[in-house]
Subunit: 214 residues, 2 copies
DNA sequence: TATTTATGAGTGGTCAGACCACTTTGTAAT
DNA sequence: ATTACAAAGTGGTCTGACCACTCATAAATA
């Protein structure tokens, strides 16, 4: 008969009302929500229904609960978009190559961004890694992460971080002399904003670390 | 004392176990999950705990429940992540900008890939849209999606699709003459593999559609 | 026999009450 | 004034009980 055979899903209604309540009472980030028992009474539903709604929001990372204390509105910047994305969507396209490509897309974009807009910060990269690079112990991850951080795309950083984990990349290996040399050149060019040269070196690096696999 | 004072969150554990169960028993899209009462017994927890986990997944749109019938695994493409998070999160402009940037990174990477490797398929793009573009009704989304599809990065496509929804972009608007003209040029260049020219036009297009905002 | 109707088992939806574990706070003993 | 203890408040979980609904089966009917 009707397209949605469930005209009412109480717990969904509660989710909506909770949002309303948060807005109305101006609950700020970190602020405390009414207790489950109080909410049950105020919204005229059973406590279990309230809990179903709260647990849903908790899975999304929108609220935080602490036993014995209460329920708190969490920083919405801590949402789990990416995590949930990876959990439920990334599984389908297990293709390792897709992960590679996507991750590299983010890396390249960060490089592009830095070369074209962030003159001030380009210095930081080189300064931050100069000594470590020349001396010894440093892993690729630290450099690349820093590059993406400086490009100031937090969402991209999150996704990149996940993809890195997911692919089980050899990102934590120590670099040999050849690779270090390459990175020194790359960072030098990056500092100068020589985009073309940076990408040239980046691709050279990709060939170097993928000398066997993929 | 400890940073995470909640070592166990049963309902989160159940969410995990449900995923495992779905994988183990090879429940396919549209397939039926065990009843709540059976799950409670099998996983050795109360029915209310099972329900909290199921309701969380339902809010995400990952499962579908029908009273009197049961619980079913729903098409993952129907998930609600985007709507939900956008209502809570997207108020912050920086997030929105991050979404823009990340999405564009994927688009640019697809263009790059096509220009450099997919000689054979470049023809398809032009052929596929030639008539529609010149004639009339076509939305941006169709073209860009096709480009990413041809670049053959399925993961990138999924993420792009999500970000597009998330940002509520004007992707479904019809294009005016100026925009169409731009795309015709762009696709022509793309077909020839003239990367530099394609990017030039791409950036021109970005300026065009963002002529007011961002 | 074929069709309709009634029944009951199974399922999700909701509620109420009971504990438990934990935190905070206030009070009483020192 | 400090410490120790008790009580209240909170989330976490379980149990049992209904309700509303769907579906398969059996019974009654044509």
């Amino acid at each position: 008969m009707n397209q949605t055979n469930n005209p009412k899903k109480m717990f969904l209604e509660i989710v909506k009302q909770l949002r309303q309540l948060i807005a109305d009472e101006n609950v700020s980030v970190g602020g405390k929500l009414p207790s489950e028992r109080e909410l049950a009474e105020r919204l005229q539903v059973g406590r279990s229904t309230i809990r179903e709604a709260l647990r849903s929001l908790e899975l999304l990372g929108l609220i935080e609960t602490r036993r014995g204390e209460g329920t708190f509105l969490s920083d919405y910047r801590k949402h789990r978009l990416v995590e949930l994305l990876s959990t439920f969507i990334l599984q389908e396209s297990k293709s390792k190559e897709d992960v590679h490509i996507t991750r590299q897309a983010l890396e390249k974009d960060a490089i592009h961004t830095i070369c074209n807009t962030e003159r001030l910060y380009r210095l930081h990269i080189w300064e931050a890694f100069k000594e470590k690079l020349i001396k010894e112990e440093i892993v690729r991850e630290d450099i690349i992460r820093e590059i993406i951080i400086i490009s100031d795309n937090r969402l991209g950083l999150k996704i990149w971080f996940l993809l890195k984990q997911f692919a089980g990349e050899p990102y934590r290996e120590n670099m040999n002399l050849q690779e270090k040399s390459l990175w020194i050149q790359l960072l030098t060019s990056l500092q100068k904003g020589e985009e073309h040269q940076v990408f040239s070196l980046y691709y050279e690096w990709l060939l170097l670390i993928n000398r066997g696999d993929v």
